[in-house]
């Protein structure tokens, strides 16, 4: 089961940093979404990335898991530069990480067991009996024992997310990403999922990155919290320090105070008329 990396390029990674993000920038067309984000996640910690809608937290996650390429900056996962990976090294790296998507993203045509087996089938040569045992083990971890034969459509929202966690951890990864684990769940189920995330860190020593906008959940599970605001990293600190932060934008986020959207007059006019702004007019992110 131990996956070895096909390629280990020279790295400047600090000993206990599992994720190192430096000056990360990204654009969607002309619009800049992330502005020089720097972030380090230490081995065995739970890092929660928070921010309001449109803050860039989901975009940051998509970059971290390799679904999108940045327009600037670097991301090193487990010491490897994501921009400089050959396909085999990328494959080996992916064996060491798992992702639990917001909606579960289970393959609807496969049963729960087949969904969890898929990464094993694709990366290892294991017999069916071994895979069955591994599936049952992981389903026990996420409290879904006995549900292996069900199809994703037959699961509730909470069960779907737990099944997605089982798939994310089936290869015993060093790093697991969660995208909005509490979204759409009632408080009890959401709390149970938080407990599961803590259990994964404590029992399996997995480094965990969680993207969420649920303040209560973040305070419960996080070792450190990173706050993103309009594509910029506002703070990375302990739960205690974030909770006591004097920064008004952080306070607004934690207290769920809505902020007036800052609208550039020229851009607003251009949006209304459909005419592109004159070259002298700057985009909001240039200001």
């Amino acid at each position: 089961m131990t996956a070895t990396l096909a390629k280990r390029p020279a790295t400047t990674a600090t000993a206990d940093a599992v994720i190192e993000v430096e000056r990360l920038e990204t654009h969607y067309g002309r619009r800049q979404v992330l502005f020089g984000v720097d972030l380090k996640v230490k081995r065995g910690e739970i890092m929660v990335i928070m921010g309001g809608s449109g803050s860039g937290k989901s975009t940051l996650l998509r970059h971290l898991v390799g679904l999108e390429q940045p327009t600037g900056g670097t991301i090193r996962l487990l010491g490897q530069d994501m921009n400089d990976l050959d396909p085999l090294a990328a494959m080996a790296l992916r064996r060491q990480m798992g992702v639990a998507f917001q909606g579960g993203a289970l393959f609807s045509s496969l049963s729960v067991a087949e969904n969890i087996k898929l990464p094993l089938r694709e990366h290892f040569r294991l017999d069916e009996k071994t895979m069955d045992i591994m599936v049952r083990l992981k389903l026990e971890v996420v409290n879904l024992a006995g549900f292996d034969a069900l199809m994703p459509a037959e699961l509730s929202g909470g069960m779907l997310k737990r099944a997605a966690v089982a798939r994310a951890i089936v290869m015993d990864p060093k790093l697991v990403f969660f995208d909005e684990p509490s979204a759409g769940l009632d408080p009890v189920v959401s709390s149970a999922l938080d407990d599961l995330i803590l259990r994964l860190r404590d029992a399996m020593g997995i480094t965990i990155v969680v993207v969420t906008h649920e303040v209560e959940s973040a305070f419960k599970i996080a070792d450190r919290i990173a706050i993103l605001d309009q594509g910029r990293l506002l703070a990375v600190d302990s739960v205690k320090n974030i909770r006591n932060s004097k920064n008004q934008r952080i306070r607004n986020l934690l207290n769920r105070v809505a902020e007036e959207e800052q609208i550039d007059a020229a851009e607003y006019l251009s949006r209304l008329t459909g005419v592109a702004p004159a070259p002298s007019q700057s985009m909001p992110h240039d200001r």
Binding site: V65, M91, R95, M97, V99, F101, A105, F107, S108
Partner: protein
């Protein structure tokens, strides 16, 4: 001015889609050739499942359409040739039309509607539900896992259905002709075999191979380019069928022009 902008945008999008389709084809060929060596094979089970889904499911309607086309061609041939008193030569037109034109075309259109739409709907739903993203983060190429099996499956299924349509269409036409012209069915079969050459069969099968490529690529391009939710899935599916059928008919004409004349 707006019309130029619309035409320009449409052209750019079309070029973009053709480029995407070419990339998909290249990547599928790559995984089919080198996948096993990289321990990432295109699984035969997935190909077989696609073949069963696309082929077996289409067999009843393919049989019905082929028989109908055969009878329709027989009616028209007898009617036309009777003007010259040459209806006993109906088998010539029927044999050549079915094998060279109607079987591949009708089967192509049938599968563009049936399988092309299914491919687009499946891929667009998977894209919206982040299942394609999930494949990527697991380290599985979506092209190897989703596109290549459908491509290989249809490359077997469409020529096979075309051959089946040849047999059913000719048999149905033969039964009608023998009933209408006081000619034995055996004589019709014997005359048809005499007039048909291997080239006629290959001509039809060659078209069906091209149509299979078009159906899968058009379906995948539309499915992967989905935007929005359920409405986007519907739009992608409709586009896959319309573009697939249009591509098949245009390719059919070009193929016939280049190979026949």
């Amino acid at each position: 001015m707006r019309i130029f902008e619309t035409v320009g945008r449409g052209t750019t999008r079309a070029i973009d889609e053709v480029g995407f389709a070419a990339t998909l084809l290249g990547q599928s060929a790559f995984w089919l050739t080198f996948g096993a060596r990289r321990r990432q094979p295109v699984r035969s089970g997935a190909i077989f499942a696609q073949m069963v889904q696309m082929g077996t499911g289409a067999l009843p309607i393919a049989t019905l359409l082929s028989a109908t086309i055969g009878i329709m061609l027989a009616i028209q041939s007898i009617h036309t040739l009777r003007l010259f008193g040459a209806e006993s030569f109906a088998y010539v037109g029927i044999g050549l039309s079915i094998t060279r034109e109607f079987s591949p075309l009708i089967m192509g259109i049938l599968l563009a509607g049936r399988s092309g739409s299914a491919i687009a709907a499946r891929l667009s739903t998977m894209t919206i539900n982040q299942e394609v993203d999930a494949l990527r983060v697991i380290g599985v190429s979506p092209v190897r896992f989703l596109v290549a099996p459908a491509l290989v499956g249809l490359l077997f299924v469409l020529p096979a259905l075309t051959m089946w349509a040849n047999l059913v269409g000719l048999a149905a036409a033969g039964l009608f002709v023998s009933g209408s012209l006081d000619l034995s069915f055996a004589a019709f079969v014997s005359d048809t075999i005499r007039i048909l050459t291997a080239n006629d069969i290959i001509h039809g099968l060659g078209k069906s191979v091209l149509f299979a490529l078009l159906i899968v690529l058009v379906g995948v391009v539309n499915g992967a380019s989905v935007k929005g939710g359920a409405e986007g899935v519907g739009a992608a599916t409709t586009s896959a069928v319309v573009q697939g059928i249009a591509a098949i008919i245009i390719t059919d004409m070009l193929f016939a022009f280049m190979v026949t004349l």
